[in-house]
Amino acid sequence: MWEYTDKVKDHFLNPRNVGEIENPDGLGEVGSLACGDALKLYFKLDENKRISEAKFQTFGCASAIASSSALTEMVKGLTLEEAAKITNEDIATYLGGLPKEKMHCSVMGRDALEHAIADYRGQKIQKSEGRIVCECFGVTDLEIERAIRENNLKTIEDVTAYVKAGGGCGNCHDNIQEIIDSVQGQALPKKPQPARLTNIQKIKLIEETLEREIRPALKKDGGDIELIDVDGNHVLVKLRGTCATCKASQVTLKHYVESKLKELVTPEIVVEEV
């Protein structure tokens, strides 16, 4: 069980400012259902350009809800310039601290606030500005660098606690360590790698390729294929119809299905039959 402060418990059990604002001046949306937490933050400005009202909707754990609730209280009465200075640490401090593993909830609050301010200013925060490092949670190198710098993070576990990167399959741990080393000044930055797909983008692309390219071709011979799972770059499929009993199906799998996916999705794809 997590050791939450009384203030966290209070903001979780009695969250302030829940709901939507119609026609908000700023709206920030971060997170996703797949990632396990998300926050929608709304604000309205008064005639003096101060935040007169802030509301939120949050999907997530107790500390995510408490961080959101705290944030809406903290920004009230502030100008956007003042609000923009709020850090994730400020949110955690307001709540009397958060367990280290839950710091990403405060980072989510800060991110939503930034998005909402950018929305008001007519700017758009581009995720593509960075290079995706953690595919499981779609976290970029820029986000990781910033968390390391602002919170003086030293280890991969720290980074996972603050921005979730590295909390899934763990394949990006080496990359995260490189970023820590480079930000902490222990190594020279490596040259950038080509942009990578997030897990969700990858799965979508695999599905599209199967639907558009592969299934129609197999169906011509009375066969079919079903996508079972995607595990990193391993695509697990089941062959159906005549494919299921065809002796040449392994050849089809490797030489047709796999090479098509390598060509159209990413060269690292490995197709396996389950």
């Binding site: 059990l13 939507e20 998300a38 929608k40 999907f59």
Partner: protein
């Protein structure tokens, strides 16, 4: 505030009769069962009785019972014994939904020269037995498959699988920690070579486990030391816990019927009422082949830790397969293996009952759950989006 405990797949309370049976072995009867004097010898006799009680619960011979410190030790001992006894074989088969005691050991071995095949489950948590059979080979040293899953409660067709595996002369181990005491087990009728069980899941204390080793199974001890347990597990016996486990097994044998009638009835009532009163709640797992005490329910568009903490504030103890409770960021490997949609995987709650639960307690949970879920959904942006899209379907 009263505590309503429905987390019995995590651990159970020690039965009062068990505690009573154990007490003398902390104080007046402290002899070492290996000693030559009758003060110790009397304790050895009691251990023998406990061994007989454990064997009775699973239809084994007392000589086939090895006392260990926990389920994890039993699992580790079994799998390591199997591969040490078959040094020429380098292949292990297990499932995607095992407890970490088996899962992490097998993954560890796969990084140390063993080939690992992991059998998938379908969306109802049922094992793909055809896949399992297809992957048996002359190189397979051990097949380790749980009898029943701790999260979904789904029971695997162990008798059928173990016969097939035995025909190929492969060692078959099962982690039956969740199954023992909840469903009738007659190990003699199966092809199972080794079975793990744990005391604290069946109202004995923590710190005691058992490994059943079928007569004639090649074995090598994990803890090498004295001659205790006929040389199969070194170390002075945890006497009070062994006595307690014996008593717990005796009680469990008498409670199996109640587990499958009264406890199952309470579980079914809880599940039915929750599904009826809360829209967009989904049972995870095959409802026809399930432990009588377990239900895993996914509540769409809300998050499990938040649900658990709201329940906790009302004194209700359950657990979840969601990410945030465990310190991990992803839903449990069991829910992921089942392909539970992410709309409900993060909001899945496991209720696991015991014979100590009352109807009054179940009614209390039924009363409290709908407002908890409604409250969290009111906070959830996804639920708000969802109901806006389907105004007629849900209120």
């Amino acid at each position: 505030m009263k505590t309503v405990y429905v987390d019995n797949n995590a651990t159970t309370r020690v039965a009062p009769q068990v505690l009573e049976a154990m007490q003398p072995y902390f104080s007046e009867c402290y002899g070492n069962p290996s000693s030559m004097h009758s003060f110790g010898g009397d304790v050895a006799k009691k251990i023998k009785e406990a061994r007989t009680a454990v064997a009775g619960l699973i239809g084994a011979d007392p000589e086939e019972i090895v006392f260990t410190s926990c389920g994890t030790e039993s699992d580790s001992t079994a799998i390591r014994a199997a591969i040490h006894s078959n040094p020429g074989k380098r292949h292990i088969i297990t499932t995607r939904v095992e407890h970490p005691a088996v899962k992490n050991l097998c993954e560890h071995l796969s990084k140390n020269g063993y080939r690992l095949t992991v059998v998938p489950v379908d969306c109802d948590g049922r094992l793909d037995t055809d896949f399992l059979v297809r992957n048996l080979s002359d190189d397979t040293a051990v097949v380790s498959i749980m009898w029943a899953n701790n999260e979904s409660g789904v029971i695997f067709p162990l008798e059928e699988i173990s016969q097939t595996v035995k025909e190929r002369n492969i060692v078959f181990h099962t982690d039956a920690v969740q199954a023992v005491g909840k469903i009738p087990i007659n190990i003699g009728r199966t092809g199972v070579d080794m079975l793990s069980l744990s005391g604290h899941k069946i109202h004995a204390p923590k710190g005691i486990g058992v490994l059943y080793v079928r007569k004639g199974t090649k074995f090598s001890p994990f803890l090498i030391g004295g001659h205790q347990e006929s040389g199969r597990r070194g170390g002075t016996e945890n006497v009070p816990a062994i006595i307690g486990l014996g008593k717990a097994c005796e009680l469990a044998a008498g409670h199996i019927e109640a587990e499958n009638t009264r406890v199952k009835g309470l579980r079914d009532k809880l599940e039915a009422e929750i599904l009826q009163q809360i829209p967009h709640a989904i049972v995870n797992g095959d409802r026809d082949h399930r432990l009588p005490n377990t239900t895993s329910i996914g509540f769409e568009y809300v998050e499990g830790e938040a649900i658990l903490l709201m329940m906790d504030a009302l004194g209700i103890c359950a657990s979840s397969g969601s990410a945030c409770t465990s310190g991990s960021l992803e839903p449990s490997h069991v829910l992921r293996a089942m392909g539970v949609p992410f709309t409900s995987a993060h909001g899945s709650i496991r209720f696991s009952l015991s014979i100590y639960n009352t109807e009054e307690e179940i009614d209390y949970i039924i009363e409290k759950m709908p407002p908890i879920i409604a409250r969290l959904r009111q906070l959830s942006p996804f639920w708000q989006d969802f109901i806006k899209k389907q105004p007629a379907a849900v209120g």
